[in-house]
């Protein structure tokens, strides 16, 4: 028995970062908004408090904050010719669940993409020629420019209070910042975080090689901050329990600490938790959404009518929602037709370990999630790729985020996997090793995509998402090139042994890499190659907006959250100034 509820103006599916910002803006503009969150309500007090939160086994190893994969898994295969099987335990990437979404367990690394990233296809063609990349690489322009997004990046960073040092203000290069960044309108809201010893060593070595080190932009704050919404944050104390954890200090910018207090106080907004949305309902024309159907925590089914539906879930869940709802043509890799699930991309992560002797004491456990020191000299298109045979790059940084020992106990290659030799190596190297993170871009490739699995079902009986992905040759070449550069920095630091581990294939779900899954509902200017238009409005069903990293046509050299925040405010602007005044298509197909 389905209960039909009273119609509202807006339904938001997923109350994480995107959902809470959109809901806050539209509720404040006078619209009745319902937020449907599948997980539980949770707050800094009492849920995130220490010392219970400082539990590596529970949160790191066992993924306590993550999507319940026993009820809602994904399946995976490297190639379309293989049988996809369930990811039975999370490891490679970690979608969150519950109020605040994945942002609750993020590290706070808050970047902007560069102007060239948004016009990657055009830029690559112009700089390197039409045939530089093979036919399998399906990169494309975003349909928005950096200049379109700049005010929205700015607004997002000021919402979070991001700590950093500008490198380029209105075209003027700023000492101490990243000289490669595209122009920003003003300085970061708060100054950079304190520099960890590993970052100081990296800074010196990178400078000696002629590179341009700068402090990582961090939404773990360097000082107390009150954001434009009037919400107060504290300074981070470098507890070393950041990624995969929630912050007990109100020092990490997450929905709970930047916007939920304002949203939840607005009577125009209603939060419903424990609600698993099954589909977006369409009318008989399939061109108009009528609302959503969801099942609550006790198993009751509801139909929530709404004039406007916004899907604001983690990237892969946005894709599945459209497929389950029949919105947009599913991508067919054999024919190269269809759009939903197309251009699924990831991030190409490599590492470099620099092993020192006992004289260098690193203290890896003193850490915030984002207080590294980096260079962008080998990121994006900041270096000439002529003759290299690939596009893209990676930031290289000493990003020391933790010393939690179940997962962090670096040993040099050749160390036995167990026994006395292993134990001695762990003791010898634990406090005397510096790890670099090489955060690499990811091109879209014809063979990589998502669709609905033909076999496996979730706990509600719906098909789960099937991910078909392997690293494109372009990205493996990039990883090898940039890793060699990073090894040189490790040597310049004076390490006794420097070990580069460029990413190699095949992609595996058994090893954590990053939770930066992108694409599948990509934005663009052509409905044949995009799911949503430049305002993140569905081409097929104009009263559905899809907002997530699933909008990225391919992934760049930086963590995706800053750009997602900018896109969120960009879409909100279009909703408030255009769509809600005159509902309908914002771009003619």
């Amino acid at each position: 028995m389905v209960q039909r509820l009273k119609e509202v103006d807006v339904v938001v599916i997923g109350v994480g970062m995107v959902g809470s910002i959109v809901a806050k803006e539209l509720a404040a503009a006078g619209y009745k908004v319902v937020g449907l969150e599948r997980g539980e309500p949770r707050f800094t007090v009492p849920e995130f408090q220490s010392p219970a939160i400082h539990d590596e086994l529970r949160f790191d190893v066992r993924k306590a904050l993550m999507q319940d994969n026993t009820r809602e898994p994904v399946t995976f295969r490297n190639q379309g010719s293989q049988l996809a099987l369930p990811v039975r335990r999370w490891e490679s990437f970690l979608p969150g669940t519950g109020l605040g979404g994945s942002m609750v367990h993020w590290n706070g690394q808050t970047y902007r993409f560069q102007a060239t990233d948004f016009q990657l296809a055009t830029r690559t063609r112009e700089r390197y020629g039409k045939t530089f990349l093979g036919p399998d690489v399906t990169i494309q322009d975003w349909g928005v420019t950096y200049d379109d997004l700049e005010p929205h990046y700015d607004r997002f960073e000021y919402l979070l209070g991001t700590s950093g040092k500008a490198g380029n203000i209105k075209g003027k290069i700023q000492p101490g910042g990243d000289p490669h960044e595209s122009p920003r309108s003003r300085e970061y809201p708060t100054p950079p975080m304190k520099e960890h010893f590993s970052g100081a060593m990296f800074r010196k070595a990178a400078s000696s090689l002629g590179y341009h080190p700068f402090p990582q932009p961090s939404s773990n704050l360097s000082q107390p901050y009150t954001n434009p919404e009037g919400v107060k944050l504290n300074a981070c104390v470098f507890c070393g329990f950041c990624e995969r954890y929630a912050c007990e200090h109100y020092a990490k910018s997450v929905p709970q600490t930047v916007i939920l207090p304002v949203l939840l106080a607005n009577p125009n907004f209603e939060l419903r938790t424990g609600c698993q949305v099954q589909r977006i309902n369409l009318d008989s024309t399939k061109k108009q959404a009528t609302g959503v159907t969801y099942i609550d925590a006790v198993g009751r089914e509801f139909m929530q009518p709404a004039s406007l539906v916004i899907t604001s879930m983690f990237a892969i869940n946005n894709i599945r929602m459209l497929l389950l709802s029949g919105i947009g043509a599913p991508y067919d890799p054999a024919k190269g037709q269809g759009v939903v699930g197309r251009n699924y991309a990831y991030q190409t992560m490599s590492t470099v370990a620099s092993f020192f002797d006992e004289g260098i004491i690193v203290n890896p456990f003193m850490a915030s999630g984002a207080s590294g020191t980096l260079i962008n000299d080998f990121a994006g298109d900041n270096f000439d790729h002529s003759g290299l045979g690939f596009i893209g790059g990676a930031f290289i940084g000493a990003v020391n985020t933790n010393g939690r020992p179940i997962q962090y106990h670096p040993v040099p290659p050749g160390t036995p996997a167990w026994g006395k030799g292993w134990k001695q190596a762990v003791v010898k190297h634990y406090n005397h090793t510096v790890m670099f993170s090489l955060h690499g871009s990811s091109v879209a490739q014809r063979q990589n995509y998502c669709d609905l699995d033909p076999t496996y079902r979730d706990a509600w009986g719906q098909p789960v998402l099937r991910i078909t992905f392997d690293f494109p040759p372009n990205d493996l070449k990039m990883a090898a090139h940039v890793t060699a550069k990073a090894v040189d920095i490790g040597k310049a630091m004076g390490a006794k042994q420097v070990v580069g581990s460029p990413r190699t294939g095949p992609y595996t779900v058994t090893q954590y890499q990053t939770t930066h899954n992108t694409g599948g509902t990509v934005m663009g200017e052509n409905p044949k190659t995009s799911v949503v238009n430049r305002y993140l409005q569905s081409w097929d069903v104009p009263n559905v907006f899809v907002i997530g990293a699933s909008n990225y046509p391919q992934n760049a050299s930086w963590n995706p959250t800053g750009t997602l925040g900018a896109l969120t405010y960009w879409a909100i602007d279009a909703l408030k100034t255009k769509y809600l005044k005159h509902p309908g298509r914002l771009v003619s197909a």
Binding site: P86, V87, R88, H196, F197, V237, I406, K420, V427, V509
Partner: protein, 244 residues
């Protein structure tokens, strides 16, 4: 030992005649353990039967042996950690997607067996103990080198352990041994935070706002457990859920 019931084994742990750890103390471990250690109570097993416990204790100690840097897995009570985890929600398949159909898959697709961790351990240990008995051998009585050779044969995947590829069992045993060694002592391993002391990890203590400025200076502090009371006693809890 074979005529010992599980109950009598459990209640008898600690008595000299059945103490399964007694024979396993290497000279190095004897040096590393303080003399008062003989008075420390031994774990009470709820998941492992007597033969299984003998194997697990001996195997864990080979994976992380006592040496001059400090106690190994046995001294850190890692077998107790394994016992409580396998006997609890984790052993029953917490956070493991368990629906079929089942297929072997590629290495990049990860774990694809129908077994819960508890089922996997029981099946594997049953096969191992049967195999050793057929050779009239007993793992805990072998020399260290022979134990290592046997563990390596499991690691290489050569045995079928009642349906479990031995490499799969070895991988889970090693992972859980490292977990038990380095996790918070609330879970029953890392007794007295020995593993944290060994590497200098301060544990759940977590405020370095001032200390982070002291580049290259060793941070010296007693580690802290998340379950430590005002007197420094760690209260073990076996049932912390793997969710918030």
């Amino acid at each position: 030992m074979t005529n010992l019931t599980r109950r009598s084994f459990v209640t008898g742990v600690g008595a000299a005649s059945v103490a399964p750890t007694a024979a396993l103390l290497t000279p190095a471990q004897a040096r590393a353990e303080p003399a008062s250690d003989t008075s420390v109570p031994k774990p009470t097993y709820i998941f492992f039967n007597a033969d299984e416990a003998l194997f697990i204790e001996a195997a864990c100690e080979r994976l992380i042996p006592a040496d001059e840097s400090g106690p190994g897995a046995l001294g850190a009570w890692v077998p107790n950690y394994l016992d409580k985890q396998l006997g609890g929600a984790w052993g029953a398949g917490e956070r493991l997607y368990r629906s079929g159909p089942w297929a072997a898959g590629t290495p990049s697709q990860g774990y694809q067996l129908p077994f819960t961790p508890a089922e996997l351990f029981h099946a594997s240990l049953r096969a191992i103990i049967r195999d050793l008995k057929s050779q009239r051998a007993s793992f805990h009585e072998m020399s260290g080198d022979a134990q290592d050779a046997y563990l390596k044969s499991l690691e290489s995947g050569a045995h079928d352990l009642d349906g479990v590829p031995s490499a799969e069992f070895f991988d889970m045993l090693l992972k859980m041994t490292v977990e038990g060694f380095f996790s918070d002592p609330v879970y029953g391993g890392n007794r007295d935070m020995v593993a944290w002391r060994m590497i200098g990890f301060p544990g759940a203590y977590a405020d370095y706002y001032e200390a982070i400025d002291l580049h290259g200076v060793k941070f010296v502090r007693e580690p802290m457990s998340l379950a430590e009371d005002g007197k420094g006693h760690v209260h073990m809890r076996q049932d912390i859920p793997a969710n918030l």
